[in-house]
Amino acid sequence: MKPQFYIWMSYGMTALAIAVEIVALRVRRARSLRRIEEERDLEAQD
């Protein structure tokens, strides 16, 4: 294997791990807000 393979596998995985975390953060926040909205709507119906 050429050194470039090891270098880009390392940098690639680092970039991927950070990208996955950023997406997960956005999804979690959106889910939290949606849950609050749903609970509020349910209470309003009651």
Partner: protein, 242 residues
């Protein structure tokens, strides 16, 4: 100037403060990361012994430092939450854990891809690498324990206790290359000085600062979601979901 710590310890106040601060930390992380990677990939010279493959250190070493530093900060927050029974400290400990686990994984992964061309193997049960793997399991244990209880406050206390016990692993990781005869090389950067070439050092330090800023930004963003999950029934949180 006197800072009103208890004012900022309120989840509703901290939610707004974190929302204001997080983008600045992400921006700083991007700028420092770009500068560090530019120096590391284009300015720093080729290593005389390892050739080009040494450039992995520009992500491997900062990720390893962050994996230990985040654990230390997480355990401190855990200790504060246990001692003073503060909700926000427990939430911060929870917010830091996934980022710490991510950096530990990156440190192990990049270490493997450095080990193969330099040592001839992706993995070896060496004291430094094994203790870093234990750190990853400690992060997983923290996250599993924190989410194992229906009452989040009980989960906070159990996980904080585990975080404090796991602190013993940090000096083991750091001094493993001194205490045992390891395949992993000793530290090139110490508090007393460095044996590295100056461009290599700058590249590595800038990426380390970038990862630090990113970790603060990510934990502030995550703690906002945790605050919403826990304070969802309060009026101020409901006002946000419009």
């Amino acid at each position: 100037m006197k800072i009103a710590w208890f004012y900022f310890a309120s989840p509703s106040t901290f939610y707004r403060l974190a929302g204001w601060l997080a983008p600045w930390f992400f921006a700083l992380a991007a700028i420092l990361g770009a500068a560090g990677l530019y120096i590391g990939l284009f300015v720093a010279p080729t290593d005389a012994q390892q050739g080009e493959v040494y450039r992995i250190i520009f992500v491997h070493v900062p990720a390893s430092w962050m994996s230990m530093f985040i654990y230390f900060v997480m355990a401190c927050y855990g200790g504060i939450s246990l001692t003073f029974n503060t909700r926000l400290a427990a939430m911060m400990a929870r917010a830091l854990a996934p980022t710490g686990a991510m950096f530990t994984f990156v440190a192990l992964w990049t270490g493997s891809f450095w080990g193969r061309p330099t040592w001839g193997t992706y993995w070896v049960w060496d004291a430094r690498i094994t203790s870093e793997l234990v750190l990853l399991f400690l992060y997983f244990g923290f996250l599993a324990l924190a989410n194992a209880f229906e009452d989040p406050r009980r989960g906070d206390r159990a996980a904080a206790l585990l975080a404090l016990i796991g602190l013993v692993n940090l000096p083991i990781i750091y001094f493993s290359v001194v205490w045992w005869n390891t395949l992993h090389q000793g530290a090139s950067v110490k508090f007393t000085g460095t044996t590295m070439q100056i461009e290599m050092l700058w590249g590595m330090l800038l990426v380390a600062l970038s990862f630090w800023m990113y970790s603060i930004g990510a934990s502030l963003t995550r703690v906002r979601a945790i605050i919403l999950e826990r304070e969802g029934r309060t009026l101020w949180a409901r006002a946000l979901a419009t």
